[in-house]
Symmetry: C2
Subunit: 223 residues, 2 copies
Amino acid sequence: MSLHIAPERTRPAVPGATVQRLPSYLHVLAELRDRGITTISSADLAVGSGVTSAKLRKDLSYLGSFGRRGVGYDVDYLHSVIAAWLGVQQEISVVIVGVGNLGHALASYPGFFQRGFRVVGLVDTDPQLIGRLVSTGDGSAVVEPLDRLADIARHCQIGIIATPDAAAQAVCDRLIAAGVREILSFASRVLVVPDSVQVRHIDLAAELSVLASRPRRTTAVSA
Amino acid sequence: MSLHIAPERTRPAVPGATVQRLPSYLHVLAELRDRGITTISSADLAVGSGVTSAKLRKDLSYLGSFGRRGVGYDVDYLHSVIAAWLGVQQEISVVIVGVGNLGHALASYPGFFQRGFRVVGLVDTDPQLIGRLVSTGDGSAVVEPLDRLADIARHCQIGIIATPDAAAQAVCDRLIAAGVREILSFASRVLVVPDSVQVRHIDLAAELSVLASRPRRTTAVSA
DNA sequence: TAGATTGTTAATCGATTAACAATC
DNA sequence: TAGATTGTTAATCGATTAACAATC
């Protein structure tokens, strides 16, 4: 029996678990680059990233093959490949709704700016806050009232919901109406969205609950 | 209402994915209880929690069997079961290291207090901050200097690292030296810890990256 | 009873791991 | 070449889903 071989090989889609690890590889590669290291093996890069070398190589294999057998990976090149894949080279505009403590923290979070995310809008309903300057990764932004949300969101790829739980769904609906298709929510309530919209949800208290209720192994490497 | 308690039976360990969803069920159940709803089916509870009913029932089955066929679950009872399993009934002490924007936000995060977590310590190195009162879920706490960390951490079950990346590993080491075995980190660098310590890691920028690199829907062509 | 819903099983899907042929 | 390390395969592990017998 002869097998029918396709002329060009289709790679499987990159798994979600892999995508979630790519930024951490990127981060380690950037550090290596800053320290003048030009080549790195999967074993060493894996230790720095807190994964196994097998997992690292498997992850990279979804994007292509970028290493040299017997040698390792070129730090600069691999960095550029992952950065390109993640779209870091193009800046991504973000609007934050809810400028309480959490919203402030997110607005000025250095990691956002470093990885190409630009906080271009801040929205809140509190009259005390509206009009005030809040520092962001690359400067500052003025807090705008809720009725400006649609205008602002129209230019943003990602919306972050950092409001109290009670307001979260209404804000979510407005973001979607304005064309936002990617939402990061810190509300503890579940958001109802159409299939075309992608929501990621960070429940900080759930993270503590998992820690508190589980005598289980760590996700980080051991010494 | 008296419930028949089955004789103790060896159940498989509760999967991590399940544990992570339990707080969300708890949250929905608390809302139902507040609205006076006493009974709920897995189908309805699942909709409120953003999961399928099969997944919900499977999740609950790891803890035991608490429903009535043909009827559903008693809201109060199921709430108490999950709360007990998560250990929410006992208060859990938390120390936050790093009282910048993020640390402030975490200290006053209402969800922590609601689910039984008590921020009993705040630590920072900034002389401007030390001695200042920061509001927490149940009142306020004074920011203490780094050399008080060991004393404070000794009474805490969980440590939260909200410092700049550069300080994260050193703070982590100090927490572990003080006996903390569960750590939630917001640093982008990977923390090196012994096997006995459990670390959860929230990389906010990675969350945005996953969102931004989204369009891996049904576009892939199979051979 | 007749209808509803649970708890569990078995099948499927997806991610991780170990091992090693390919090859620099 | 001899040693090192990748990229990939196949096995394993864990989580999700669909289906339905049990039973309220």
